[in-house]
């Protein structure tokens, strides 16, 4: 009897536990996290101590080897608390450590992965540059083969955890003329007394997700040994990236779902208590319509996102589906945060109230995992079988 839409009892319990941890550790501090625009080291250490950073990695490195659906549950619950903290955490759990776990040798795993899972070394992944975001073929960071290793030159932008990262998985090209076929991943550590590496560059000040620190990474003729080449063959970088992009996109969808729900749950409480013309505004039709539309849209996004998680878990090819899920959830989220701002009326404009924070945090989802314009072009083409 296929087509089962229920989580297992264990997954429900797991969700409850994560939600409880988020409620106790993050919720009391959401406003403060947003205002300070600083990485919350104490919160990071608390979460690391609970063991959540090892969610997807093998037990022998200190991880948990959890299934995909449970990971998505984790991302969804985490983002409900603080989008910024969720971004930093997800980067550590997923993108920052995936290629190291997959392609790194034992020496690298012990040196990098084990402390990363403990939260002692923060990692990140570097795709974006000044001139290239969605267009990976435009990568200009150059990796030149030298004796015993590689020399890497370039500047990476929009790097989550950049200012505090100890290591990164850096995408570089062996020859820009090769376009996508020249791309590879390299492990680059931070420059140290005894080690060549990247240097954190300028810090970016963002509209939202402010407790997640983002900035530039500068690779100035950095030497990395052969073992730092993360991959089996040269030129397969894009293919490898594709392997995690599905998860990245569903993770983005989870972020969108969490922010949307948070914004509208909060707006609901406001609407139930705000009296205008003698009634709580939740009794008026135009306000009710906003909630109804959100609800319908949310349920569809949520179901589809978890369906994609299920497909990933069951190794069913789902590149297009994941793009669709991310697109759908994010557009829904844009609607939700916009309407929450409207429901609050003039109060929305005041930074003391939550809707503006949800609105600011949500905007980034339009870009993470591919901008919607690029996605639509691609998906439209696929649909038309062009």
């Amino acid at each position: 009897m296929p087509l089962d839409f229920a989580f297992s009892e264990e997954q429900e319990f797991f969700r409850q536990m994560v939600r409880d941890a988020v409620n106790r550790l993050i919720m009391p501090r959401v406003a403060e996290l947003d205002e300070k625009e600083e990485f919350p080291w104490d919160l990071w250490k608390e979460f690391a101590a609970l063991g959540y950073l090892g969610l997807r990695h093998e037990e022998k490195y200190g991880g948990m080897a959890t299934d995909t659906i449970s990971q998505m549950i984790f991302y969804e619950e985490l983002a409900r608390g603080s989008c910024g903290f969720a971004m930093a955490t997800i980067m550590q759990v997923l993108m920052g450590t995936y290629f190291i776990a997959r392609f790194g040798n034992e020496n690298i795993k012990q040196r990098i992965l084990v402390p990363a899972i403990k939260g002692e070394k923060i990692g990140t992944i570097c795709f974006t540059e000044d001139q290239s975001g969605s267009d990976l073929g435009g990568t200009r960071t150059l990796a030149t083969k030298v004796d015993g290793g590689w020399r890497i030159n370039g500047r990476k932008q929009w790097i989550t955890n950049g200012p505090i990262a100890e290591f990164c998985t850096c995408m570089a090209t062996v020859d820009p003329k090769l376009g996508l076929k020249g791309l590879n991943f390299y492990l680059v550590e931070k420059k140290g007394a005894d080690r060549d590496g990247f240097v954190p560059g300028q810090r970016l000040h963002k509209l939202g997700s402010r407790c997640s620190v983002t900035g530039e990474l500068v690779l100035d003729n950095v030497f990395v040994p052969d073992e730092n080449f993360l991959g089996e063959e040269i030129g397969k970088g894009v293919q490898y990236a594709g392997d995690i992009l599905n998860e990245v996109r569903i993770m983005t969808a989870m972020n969108a779902l969490a922010i949307a729900k948070g914004a509208m749950d909060d707006a609901r409480e406001y609407a139930r208590n705000r009296i205008a013309f003698g009634n709580p505004i939740s009794k008026y039709q135009l306000i009710r319509e906003k909630f109804a539309k959100f609800w319908a849209w949310y349920e569809a996004s949520w179901t589809y996102a978890y369906k994609c998680a299920w497909m990933i878990q069951n190794k069913i090819p789902c590149t297009n589906e994941c793009m669709l899920a991310k697109y759908h959830a994010t557009e829904m989220c844009m609607y939700a945060v916009e309407e929450a701002m409207r429901i609050y009326g003039g109060n929305a404009f005041c930074t003391e109230y939550p809707p503006q924070r949800y609105w600011r945090d949500a905007k980034f989802l339009l870009y993470g995992g591919g901008t919607h314009e690029v996605l639509c072009d691609y998906l439209g083409r696929i649909f038309c079988k062009d």
Binding site: E9, E10, Q11, F13, F14, Q16, M17, D20, A21, R24, L25, E46, A49, L50, G51, Y52, G54, L55, M64, T66
Partner: protein
């Protein structure tokens, strides 16, 4: 309680304590609860571990960390085991669910009988539970279990100091006048009040363990209790009617400016509601 001499340079005795924690799952404090009819409540389906029982589990775990031994969480519930799983996620060693169709409609005294029936032949040193459950707000089960087992108990503890489990321990209890200090020997039962400790957030490793844990189920026959002692027919109390909370008349906002509003308030309190 078994005493195991620990060799080496310390002459500290490591005793293995048998600790039981009685837990209950109750509706989430945020759950919406409405009076549906005289005899029925509508309760939103969101359950969580009774907050005071979490404090009890934490106290049990701390004792185990200090003296060694085993912490077992127990519940009497026919449907849910959330509180048991949470106990394991926090670090408890074992979980037991007492469940039987004839328990349906039992009052707190019958629940206490079921727990006591299970515990009476176990070598327990310490039984812990929360001061009351956040659904019935009664605080009956803890003391009733102590009474049935014939052991001393202290309720509303906010401090527990034990250097040697075989000697007297010092217990601090919250009373209106302040803090009452008592001495007590084990075995004993304590009900825990907020302020005793801060329950730990479960580590994800233990959350995984809890998700997969096999929970032992016991029915009335297994614990040696007769059906005549449990269920609706044995209940000493019954709800005749449910009522919504009393409603106050709409607030009277004193609209005058300061300082007139203060003068008017005092006048109203003296002359209208006559409370000062």
């Amino acid at each position: 309680m078994a005493a195991v001499a620990v060799g080496g340079d310390s002459d500290l005795l490591e005793v293995e304590m048998e600790i039981y924690v009685l837990v209950k799952q109750v509706p989430d404090p945020e759950a919406i609860i409405k009076v549906k009819s005289d005899s029925e409540l509508e309760i939103e389906n969101k359950y969580f571990t009774n907050f005071f029982d979490e404090i009890a589990v934490e106290a049990g775990l701390k004792m185990r960390e200090k003296f060694g031994g085993k912490v077992t969480v127990l519940t009497v519930d026919n449907k849910k085991v959330d509180a048991l799983r949470r106990g394991i996620a926090m670090g408890a060693d074992d979980a037991i669910q007492i469940t039987d169709p004839t328990l349906e409609g039992s009052d707190q005294f019958a629940i206490a009988k079921a727990l006591a029936a299970y515990l009476k032949d176990k070598p327990f040193d310490l039984i812990l539970t929360g001061r009351q459950a956040m659904d019935d707000d009664a605080g009956i089960v803890g003391p009733a279990v102590a009474e049935l087992l014939g052991i001393p108990y202290v309720n509303m503890i906010i401090g527990l100091e034990m250097d040697d489990p075989k000697k007297e321990l010092k217990v601090i209890r919250e009373v209106e006048a302040g803090k009452e200090i008592l001495s007590c020997t084990l075995p004993a039962l304590f009900t825990c009040q907020k302020g005793l400790n801060n329950p730990r957030i479960p580590q994800v490793m233990n959350v995984m363990k809890a998700m997969k844990a096999q929970i032992k189920k016991l029915d009335l026959a297994a614990i040696g209790l007769s059906a005549a002692e449990t269920g609706r027919q044995a209940a000493k109390m019954k709800v005749q009617k449910y009522l919504p909370p009393p409603k106050r008349p709409p607030v009277r906002m004193i609209k005058e400016d300061f300082p007139e509003n203060v003068k008017i308030l005092v006048k109203l309190l003296r002359e209208e509601s006559k409370v000062i």
